[in-house]
């Protein structure tokens, strides 16, 4: 069986078993703006054409600024209950991501989180797909005290 592929290949890498995926951002060659998701159509900061942006893989590591538990199913792909968080990545970009903790009690506002891959069904040819989630850093990595106030 071949390695799993990403359901959204433009968003993240699929590294070897167990390693956290990197997020596929872009850096604008005109203004330096770091965009995630990557600026496929143009820079949202200065409007530079997409060919002026360079790919920039960033670590899926950051601080959980806020999280919430969703009790109602809005999409079949995400049956309730599930958790969503606002994450300030160490690279300085704020994102929202679906959380996949081992145990929901581990979720802590201000806690450290990292990207991980979860199974996400199959493509048309029956190949396994994976999708990107975030989870508390195993073993409780020391907090860096950073993040937005």
């Amino acid at each position: 069986m071949s390695a799993a592929r990403a359901r959204h290949p433009s968003l993240h890498t699929v590294p070897a078993e167990g390693k956290p995926p990197e997020l596929l951002a872009s850096r604008c060659g005109e203004c330096g703006h770091l965009a995630f998701p990557a600026a496929r159509f143009g820079c949202p900061s200065c409007g530079a054409a997409p060919e002026r942006s360079a790919p920039a893989a960033i670590a899926g590591r950051g601080t959980l600024e806020a999280f919430t538990i969703v009790h109602r199913t809005f999409s079949r792909a995400f049956p309730a209950p599930y958790a969503v968080g606002t994450i300030l990545l160490d690279a300085g970009v704020e994102i929202r991501a679906v959380l996949a903790p081992e145990d929901r009690a581990d979720l802590e506002t201000g806690g450290r989180v990292e990207s991980c891959l979860v199974p996400s069904g199959e493509d048309e040819d029956g190949n396994a797909l994976v999708d990107c989630r975030f989870r508390p850093v195993p073993g409780g990595e020391a907090r860096d005290g950073g993040g937005a106030a």
Partner: protein, 383 residues
């Protein structure tokens, strides 16, 4: 230099009308639209043949909804156009008519907002821009995260959030056009079915249908059509914007609201202390707290205690969402922003019945929409 609305010729809201907001029915939208239009024409004391331009705001109905309904009033041959701007659809239709009349291309224009509950087709799904939470984080989730952040930063409590719903349901119980006309208690808000932590259903606006109309007339139009000046409300400004890049930790909706309202204050020379009534976009309870702060009614972080002080209740410093707001009056998309104009007109004329905020002279209407966009108007009683 570009012109402000006050630099153009004066424009007035001369007539308003509603079809009650309510849960979905099988009634054709034509009935809803024509009820609101006929009510507004009667309110202004004019006939359809006096209307020189019309804009229909609808988010869900589809292509050519405006003329398909308006033709039943008589095919007068006037320009009719349709706009969609997410939750700010009605506000945008109103703004367009205001700008047409202010520019001088028409003396009498009509803004109609109408919608049924149909699944909106979101352009972003075909935009080629996937993200990590597509499908998992609709607006209820995004605002729940903003609520959690506000609670953590400023100590805002669940009781304070619930009080926004209690207040707006109290107001809605006094509005015969509201979808929900029943008061609720804090305990009922807390114990309603959970949607997304910390929101229960009573923290979230309902789905519904309805229609709203505002007739906008120039000074010359008022004279020519014999419309009462006393019941007409001057539109002092019309401001619209869209998102700018927002730094981490800042709320995009707060940012566009602060920017739009600041500009409205600058254009009119008014400030938050001058406003008697505000109709603002609270699809979720936290939004009212965020936006009264962004509008300067109270300091950042003080929206919860300010709501508890009853300053935003009818009879307080400034009645916020006296109509019942999106939470109780409802949020049928196309009509919502025009329904706000209807409520402000009734408040400024002193025709709001059991929910009248005494002595109201100045009112502000505010909607934000997916995109993100924000639209703000300020109306004034002249006499």
């Amino acid at each position: 230099m570009t012109a402000r609305l006050v630099d153009l010729r004066p424009v007035y809201v001369a007539g308003v009308g509603l079809h009650r907001y309510r849960k979905p029915t099988d009634t054709p939208y034509t009935d809803l639209a024509l009820a609101a239009v006929r009510a507004a024409l009667a309110d202004a004391g004019i006939t359809w043949t006096s209307v020189e331009t019309a804009v229909c705001g609808t988010a869900n109905l589809g292509l050519a909804a405006g003329w398909t309904a308006l033709r039943h009033l008589g095919a007068t041959g006037i320009p009719v156009m349709q706009v969609e701007n997410a939750s700010a659809t009605g506000s945008t239709a109103f703004r367009d008519v205001v700008l047409q009349v202010a520019s001088g291309v028409a003396d009498c224009g009509l803004a109609l907002g109408v919608d049924k509950v149909l699944r909106p087709r979101l352009a972003v799904l075909n935009a080629g821009t996937p993200d990590l939470v597509r499908g998992a984080a609709p607006p209820a989730v995004g605002f729940a995260l903003e609520a959690k952040r506000h609670m953590r930063r400023h100590g805002t409590t669940l009781d304070q959030l619930a009080l926004v719903s209690v207040k707006n349901h109290w107001n809605g119980a006094r509005n015969p056009n509201a979808q929900f006309q029943r008061e609720c208690t804090r305990e009922e808000v807390h114990q309603a079915p959970p949607i997304v932590d910390p929101f229960t259903t009573l923290h979230c606006c309902p789905l519904g249908e309805g229609a709203a109309t505002a007739i906008v007339v120039s000074e010359e139009g008022l004279q020519r059509l014999g419309i009462s000046r006393r019941r007409s409300l001057r539109v002092l400004c019309s401001v619209a914007n869209s998102e700018t890049l927002t730094p981490p930790g800042e709320s995009l909706h707060v940012r566009i609201t602060r920017d739009a309202v600041s500009r409205a204050y600058d254009e009119t020379g008014l400030g938050p202390g001058d406003l008697d009534v505000i109709e603002l976009h609270e699809a979720f309870t936290i939004e009212e707290i965020l936006y009264i702060e962004a509008m300067g009614l109270c300091a950042e972080g003080e929206g919860g205690p300010f709501t508890e002080s009853r300053a935003t209740w009818i009879g307080g410093d400034c009645a916020v969402n006296a109509s019942g707001g999106l939470l109780a009056m409802g949020h049928p998309f196309g009509p919502t922003g025009i329904g706000q104009i209807v409520e402000i007109a009734r408040q400024l004329r002193g025709e709001a019945g059991d929910r009248q905020h005494q002595g109201a002279r100045l009112g502000l209407a505010h909607m934000v929409g997916v995109g993100e966009v924000c639209v703000v108007h300020i109306l004034s009683r002249e006499h």
